[in-house]
């Protein structure tokens, strides 16, 4: 860390003699072209949201309609508010469970004294993180199949009727939350495991001498040790409240469960790409992006103020 702090002044001193390094500047050209084409052109494309956009007429030829698209979506479009509420509910459920599970697992892993055992468990729980939702959806569909899936086979053995997990509104969200937590809990422990290794062992020794039991040690030493990371993580996950997980839902859902599972991102995709309602789709995308940006800035400011969190 020392070198990080030391480096810039030394560089500056030398550069003052050399003045502007044009070769260095030239290296930013490919990146600039990339940003302009793939980030800024689409930003200009957002004006479609304020037009009655027709592909044949293009952006310049299409008629401007002001806020009509937004008005239509917010007041007239069937099911729009249901989709918004689905998004927030699914994201909130995932956040609740997906946020606490890694903390509990990390605390448990911390209690394991056999290094080999700990390593093995860690190796196993990271696996799902690297597998795409397409593949996991394939596996889930196979396992949850109402006629020949393993889960229903077991349910039948236990004397329960088969359940069409992916086709019923009552069970679909459960599948989403459980499979999302399953995919991410192992990976989520990493940040806490790193924090846990930073706790001074002397604290534990002192606590043992003072007669503190296992839970007291966990409560008074381990948990406070990772608390800043827990809160920081929580602050930084709030902006994701409008992301319910497109990859997962898109690969698992079907028309039968739109009522509980259709979310903003799947809706934006269907509206824009399948139904070719470019203007409406862009309008929702714009609202979503704007809300996310505000949340992102706010949470970053909070994290920066209280935890000195910096990206740059």
């Amino acid at each position: 860390m020392r070198t990080v702090i030391d480096a810039p002044p030394a560089v500056q001193k030398r550069k003052k003699r050399l003045k502007t390094d044009y070769m260095l500047c030239a290296m930013l050209i490919p990146g600039s072209i990339y940003l302009i084409i793939f980030d800024f052109f689409p930003l200009f494309g957002l004006v479609i949201g304020f037009q009655d956009f027709q592909l044949a007429k293009g952006i310049l030829g299409s008629k401007w309609v002001g806020l009509e698209n937004f008005k239509y979506l917010f007041t007239m479009y069937p099911n729009f508010w249901r989709i918004v509420s689905n998004t927030v509910q699914i994201a909130a459920l995932k956040l609740c469970f997906g946020f606490t599970a890694p903390i509990i697992v990390a605390l448990m892993l911390h209690e394991v004294r056999h290094i080999r055992y700990k390593r093995t468990i860690q190796t196993l729980v990271y696996v799902p993180h690297f597998i795409s939702w397409v593949i996991l959806a394939g596996i889930l569909r196979t396992m949850l199949d109402p006629s020949d899936g393993i889960v229903n086979y077991i349910l039948n053995l236990l004397g329960h009727e088969s359940v069409y997990f992916l086709g019923e509104n009552s069970t679909f969200r459960g599948v989403l939350v459980v499979s999302d937590v399953w995919k991410g809990f192992g990976w989520g422990t990493i940040i806490y495991m790193a924090a846990l290794t930073g706790i001074d062992p002397a604290l534990y020794e002192a606590a043992i001498i003072d007669g503190a039991g296992r839970f007291k040690r966990m409560w008074h030493i381990t948990l406070p040790g990772i608390m800043p990371f827990i809160i920081l993580n929580l602050i930084l996950s709030v902006p994701g409240i409008l992301n319910a997980g497109f990859d997962q839902i898109f690969n698992l859902y079907n028309e039968r469960v739109y009522k509980t599972a259709d979310v903003l991102d799947t809706f934006i995709y269907r509206l824009g790409i399948v139904d070719a309602q470019y203007d409406l789709s862009t309008a929702i995308g714009l609202v979503k992006s704007a809300i996310s940006a505000v949340l992102l800035v706010t949470s970053y400011k909070i994290a920066n103020k209280f935890y000195d969190y910096k990206v740059f």
Binding site: A7, P8, M27, L28, G31, Y34, T142, I150, I191, R214
Partner: protein, 301 residues
């Protein structure tokens, strides 16, 4: 340490041993739960079609058969999708690494040496905060004629801004004395980057290669969005079509037959597993580099 060990041995009551047993077994269950679905899938892929249809295959194959794997490796569209995925992963890694290094290097220097870096960082922040979204992005892609080409799979996303910051922070951690020595020897910035910085940045570059490679291998959405003809799909997009149930009313009889064959549970399982193998093969590296990647050049506190 000795005190701790001794105390623990003496102080471990019966209740604490019970807690240990519970913790160890819960962790074991969680660990196994992460691989059990894959074992189940292996069992299905190696079972006979009838046994799979009966729904009784659990963790061990019934009526052992490798027909599903034979089907996969003899199936032209599967092979084609597989090779497209390999190609996009290799090309994607090369393009991404070049873009990352060449952009992160000037950003790691002072603004005096590279004044445009200030503007560029501002652009990056805007791009990280707000995006045009799906439709504008698609329209831009078709406007610059990238849709329906291989490049649609590798060029968008090749400069991940987050990764760029990580590489930038790593470059900043390299002592500037080394660079000064090279300047004395008459090297220009590009030579310094290639001869001094890159050899010292192997850990972060390997990490980025792994990040980007896994991303490319697992990406299915750009294939679905930008590629119209299904024979040009990368593997994950191909699989996405295989696992989702199409609208049967729109299919011809011929297509239905073909669908039934490709989507037969065993064949599906074998294809999914073959797509997973590359990830599992590099898993040891993955674990190592992902872990170091999170600490290296990461967020400064």
């Amino acid at each position: 340490m000795a005190v701790k060990a001794k105390k623990r041995r003496i102080g471990r009551s019966f209740a604490e041993s019970i807690v240990d047993v519970i913790i160890y077994s819960v962790l074991a269950i969680l660990g196994i739960s992460c691989v059990l679905p894959f074992i189940h899938l292996i069992a299905i892929s190696l079972s006979g079609a009838v046994a799979v249809g009966s729904g009784k295959v659990t963790l061990w194959p019934m009526d052992f058969s490798i027909d599903a794997y034979r089907f996969a490796i003899e199936h032209p569209s599967f092979l084609r999708a597989f090779s497209i995925s390999v190609a996009r992963t290799v090309v994607g890694i090369l393009i991404s690494l070049t873009m990352l290094v060449i952009t992160a290097y000037p950003l790691s220097k002072s603004y005096e040496a590279c004044p445009p870096a200030r503007i560029f960082k501002g652009m990056m922040i805007i791009a990280m905060l707000i995006s045009g979204g799906l439709v504008p992005m698609y329209l831009v892609m078709s406007w610059i004629r990238l849709t329906n080409t291989f490049w649609a799979l590798v060029i968008p996303g090749s400069l991940s801004l987050w990764n760029c910051f990580m590489v930038m922070n790593y470059f900043r951690s390299i002592p500037s004395e080394l660079e000064e020595a090279a300047v004395v020897d008459g090297a220009n910035s590009f030579q310094i980057l290639v001869r001094v910085y890159l050899p010292l940045s192997v850990p972060i570059i390997a990490t980025m290669a792994v990040f980007v490679g896994v991303g490319h291998w697992n990406d299915w959405f750009s294939g679905m969005l930008y590629i119209a003809r299904s024979q040009n799909y990368p593997l994950q997009t191909y699989l996405q079509q295989v696992i989702t149930i199409p609208d049967f009313s729109k299919l011809t009889l011929e297509e239905m037959k073909k669908y039934a064959e490709v989507n037969n549970k065993n064949n599906q399982a074998a294809q999914i597993l073959i797509a997973t193998i590359p990830i599992l093969l590099i898993y040891p590296f993955l674990q190592r580099y992902f872990m170091t990647g999170l600490t290296l050049g990461g967020v400064k506190g």
